[in-house]
Symmetry: C2
Subunit: 217 residues, 2 copies
């Protein structure tokens, strides 16, 4: 087989894999990660089950690949656009703002993919739960890293604990996702934004306020 032909086959395989994972994310977001079976997905994609098995050998493999794909999307929607902000309070705020925008934009039809998956799997030990926990820890660690940089750069008042700050800010974003989904309360996004803004201004030193102000003004 020529190299060009092999390359083209590989590309085609990648395209199919992407198409499968996109459908898998949609299905999981709407009906839960546990609903993600090879059979259901084959029906949705009008593919044969054996075709799907060639890409993902088991339901568990498929679930784990889907979480990975959702993480990539999360990176594009939330992390990447924040990189234009300087590390510290500015980038911390950008992460949180982008998360709220990701909810507004309905990047996943069923709200935050990870919050839903976390609530579904927190009680079920195994590889899927571990993979979700890893995603959640990565997100927390990114926020904490920026809060620590803010602390080092004297952007926070001396008595502010950066980890406590992240706990509180993250709580506002999750509450927005949660209350909007179930309480049909559209105003919660506004409440989360106000909570984040007030809390950041409250924790910031003069230098920190300067880092925030071009966005907050």
């Amino acid at each position: 087989m020529g190299t060009a032909q092999t390359g083209s086959r590989l590309l085609q395989g990648e395209a199919t894999r992407s198409r499968i994972l996109k459908a898998a994310m949609d299905l999981a977001s709407r009906h839960g990660l546990d609903s993600l079976t090879i059979g259901e997905l084959a029906k949705e994609l009008e593919m044969s089950k054996s075709g799907l098995f060639a890409h993902f050998g088991s339901k568990e493999e498929l679930q784990i690949a889907t979480i990975g794909a959702a993480e990539t999307l999360f990176g594009f929607a939330i992390l990447k656009p924040a990189e234009s902000h300087l590390p510290g309070l500015g980038r911390l705020r950008a992460y949180l703002e982008n998360y709220l925008k990701y909810l507004d934009d309905r990047v996943f039809p069923g709200g935050c993919f990870f919050s839903a998956a976390a609530a579904e799997y927190d009680d079920r030990p195994g590889r899927v739960r571990d993979r979700i926990a890893l995603s959640m820890r990565k997100w927390r660690d990114l926020l904490e890293e920026q809060a620590r940089i803010a602390k080092t750069n004297d952007e926070l008042l001396p008595d502010v604990d950066p980890l406590q700050l992240v706990f509180e800010l993250k709580a506002f974003t999750h509450e927005a996702n949660f209350s909007r989904r179930l309480l049909d309360d559209e105003d919660v996004q506004g409440r989360a934004r106000r909570g984040i803004c007030d809390r950041l201004l409250n924790a910031a030193s003069d230098r920190g306020r300067a880092a925030l102000i071009h966005k907050l003004s």
Copy 2:
């Protein structure tokens, strides 16, 4: 049939119903509300399916009765003990403290029954979702009622919006439930307590601080 005999039968029926609902809450808390089928529960209780059907005509009836039973338990663990506190900031704080204690005490083995059920059903329109949403609204309304009383009684600083305050405080309690379950971070209860304490002290007028102080000191 004599009245005494009818009465005794009724009592026996009640006892069986309670036993069923207790097992149902445990099962739902561990494996999700959707896992609550008449068949599963009959196996767990070593009862016949027809015996269970005599009490609950369908899976949906059973689920709704289970949510009601969980609400009663929530009332005993969280609402009732707060009634010894004066309405306003004192009772608001007692509600939140009792919620964190309810997590510590593992009243339900799988964390907060309602948060789990909400995440599971927020995407599935129907009577079960409506019943969960009703529970969540009741809880929010109770918190908001106390914050409004605090406002009327001048326990809050003039610029504090009582609904915003409740959004933020409630966020801390949910974040504690969420992060402890998945991130295996035992410290989150402490973070939630500190967030609540700081936020309340921050929002309180001198009068409000007096209402809080016998607990916070």
